[in-house]
């Protein structure tokens, strides 16, 4: 299609069946205002906030995640998509709190001490929120004390740690060792990620899983939560 004969797309004139996939496309293209508008339209049409979240935003980000994983999208595009998602989330958040919508689980996440890199961590944070998790983001450069404090206060289901540098990745082991010492290690799932990491490394330092990218992090987190629920219902 050429730009010239492109018609203006009026979101409010689309049926629900057309609007939702359109919102997926708009999320994919990182179109913040369009996503925001779509969320308002669906709410006005009487959609439950939780349905808007799952059918429009979470599903849209799932598609973004697949193309990110497959090397079709890269960090800039995914960040723009996640920012668009966040705009939609900001509208839904207070409504979700009111309606007592189900939560996937809670994650505390942070980049380890000495490491300023938070691009990947922010992506995980946003994609996890996009998947319906509650995320407490500790930011960058976190000594073990920060993690311990957040664990105490937040009682997360998942602890996420990120490191981009060879010089900072060993610090993940420092944190995990401390958790073991304090007898806290088995209270939650520990997921680690970052460019220099790999599966063997995560196993060796005592994490539960290595997540290659934000899409994998979301899938892994969901799996662990499902297992936890199974264990709980079996017990």
């Amino acid at each position: 299609m050429s730009d010239e004969d492109e018609e203006e797309l009026i979101l409010s004139e689309l049926s629900d069946e057309e609007l939702v996939p359109q919102m997926h496309d708009d999320l994919y293209d990182g179109l913040k205002e369009e996503v925001e508008e779509g969320v308002y339209i669906l709410l006005e049409r009487g959609w439950e906030p939780y349905a808007v979240l799952t059918n429009a935003l979470v599903e849209g980000m799932r598609i973004v995640g697949i193309d990110f994983r497959d090397g079709i999208l890269f960090v800039p595009e995914v960040l723009l998509a996640a920012n668009a998602m966040k705009t939609g989330m900001a509208i839904l958040k207070p409504l979700l709190a009111e309606t007592g919508a189900p939560r996937m689980g809670k994650m505390v996440i942070g980049t380890v001490k000495g490491d300023i890199h938070d691009i990947g961590k922010n992506l995980v944070s946003m994609m996890m929120e996009g998947a319906g998790f509650e995320v407490v983001d500790l930011g960058i450069n976190n000594p073990v004390e920060n993690y311990l404090e957040a664990i105490e206060n937040e009682k997360p289901d998942i602890l996420g740690m990120s490191a981009l540098l060879t010089t900072t990745m060993p610090y993940m082991k420092v944190v995990i060792d401390r958790l073991v010492e304090l007898g806290l290690r088995d209270d939650f799932v520990v997921l680690v990620g970052g460019a220099p990491l790999n599966e063997d490394f995560s196993k060796a330092i005592g994490a539960d899983a290595y997540c290659r990218d934000a899409a994998v992090a979301v899938e892994t987190a969901k799996e662990f939560m499902a297992r936890k629920h199974n264990v709980l219902s079996a017990g």
Binding site: M1, E6, E7, L9, I10, E13, L14, P21, Q22, D25, D26, Y28, D29, L31, E34, I63, D70, G71, I72, F74, V75, P76, E77, L79, L80, N83, V112, K113, G114, D115, I116, H117, D118, I119, G120, I140, N141, P143, L164, L165, T166, T167, T168, M169, P170, Y171, K173, V174, A195, P196, L197, N198, D200, F201, A204, I205
Partner: protein, 349 residues
């Protein structure tokens, strides 16, 4: 070997260019050093500590890394200043010491090189700021240039022959660092980390780097790849450049395999023999400046040197040979943007 003239280089890079040409003219390759960070770990640096602070706190440790690299056979060493920019040093509450820490990293390198008196080239390492450029992040080009300028000036004041911009993923950040080097009067080389299916995490392909270098207002002396995934991936990336006819020297600086946690420390699984194979494959792939990145010790450098010195020539390697000698690729090369099945915003039917 060249004489160590002890002079600082001009912005045109005449001095360092002459050194490059002399080495390349006589034997066709320059051996760069191995890792800095992982070698500092081996000497006792703590996890999460600032490597750059060691320049003043434990200069002997930093000298030892330099000395090992030169003794191992490196013609060119990188300074311990990778994270020596104020955006990163603020984490350690020493942003105000950026210039000083960079200057000292270069001074220590210069002094150590002088001990050997063999004209070792001192390259001032400049890593990424760790911040995202607009519109994804808040870093503007002006601020980025300013951050890198402080680092480049410090490196130049400390006697670096050339700046070595490395492990960059965003081409715009590279452009800012290049501009800063120019303003500091320091010639530079530039390598990106192609760690995601043949591209940088920001989606930059080897061809994008080559195009950028060809059009750059302040062109680099050499470009190439460093870090990323394992050595096999890096050679596959290097193979892309000769097709692009880049018209400048090509750099390969691969990690010594992939990191593993063994006996309480990080250990990269690539042996010195594997890195010797890597060095030969890099040369046969068109790289002229060859070194290691994370996990590469002086033992690796020694073997790489020996292999390059006895190299008798060979054809451009096929992917099978690369995998056979260096191990599997971490991922397949992603689709070309032109062929990508990118989704488009739909319009009303």
């Amino acid at each position: 070997m060249l004489e160590d003239d002890g002079e600082l280089s001009g912005a045109d890079g005449q001095d360092v260019r002459a050194k490059f040409d002399a080495l390349l003219g006589s034997r066709g390759w320059i051996l760069a050093d191995g890792a800095t960070g992982t070698n500092l770990f081996a000497l006792g640096m703590g996890a999460g500590d600032s490597p750059e602070l060691l320049n003043v706190q434990q200069p002997e440790m930093v000298r030892a890394v330099y000395r090992n690299a030169i003794a191992g056979g490196a013609d060119l060493i990188l300074t311990n200043s990778f994270g020596g920019n104020r955006a990163r040093l603020k984490l350690h509450a020493v942003a105000g010491r950026t210039r000083e820490l960079c200057q000292i990293s270069a001074q220590l390198a210069h002094e150590t090189a002088s001990e050997f008196g063999n004209g070792t080239i001192v390259a001032g390492s400049m890593g990424p700021t760790g911040e995202l450029m607009e519109p994804m992040g808040v870093l503007t080009p002006d601020v980025a240039v300013d951050i890198f300028l402080e680092q480049a000036e410090g490196l130049k004041a400390g006697g670096a022959d050339v700046a070595w911009i490395e492990t960059i993923s965003d081409i715009r950040e590279l452009d800012c660092a290049a501009q800063a080097c120019f303003r500091a009067g320091l010639p530079y080389c530039a390598t990106l980390s192609f760690d995601t299916a043949g591209r940088t995490m920001m989606g930059v392909a080897p061809g994008d780097l080559a195009n950028w270098a060809a059009d750059a207002t302040w062109p680099p002396l050499a470009i190439g790849a460093n870090c990323g995934a394992g050595a096999a991936d890096l050679i596959r990336t290097i193979l892309e450049f000769p097709k692009l006819k880049i018209g400048m020297h090509l750099i390969a600086k691969a990690n010594a395999g992939i990191p593993k946690w063994e006996k309480g420390a990080i250990h990269y699984d690539g042996s010195p023999d594997l890195m010797a194979d890597y060095a030969e494959l890099a040369l046969r792939s068109g790289a002229k400046i060859i070194g290691g990145c994370c996990g590469t010790t002086f033992r690796h450098i020694q073997r790489m040197r020996a292999r390059l010195e006895t190299f008798k020539g060979g054809a451009t390697p096929m992917l099978e040979e690369i995998v056979g000698k260096l191990g599997q690729f971490s991922a397949d090369i992603g689709p070309d943007p032109k062929d990508r099945n990118r989704r488009q915003r739909r319009r009303r039917p």
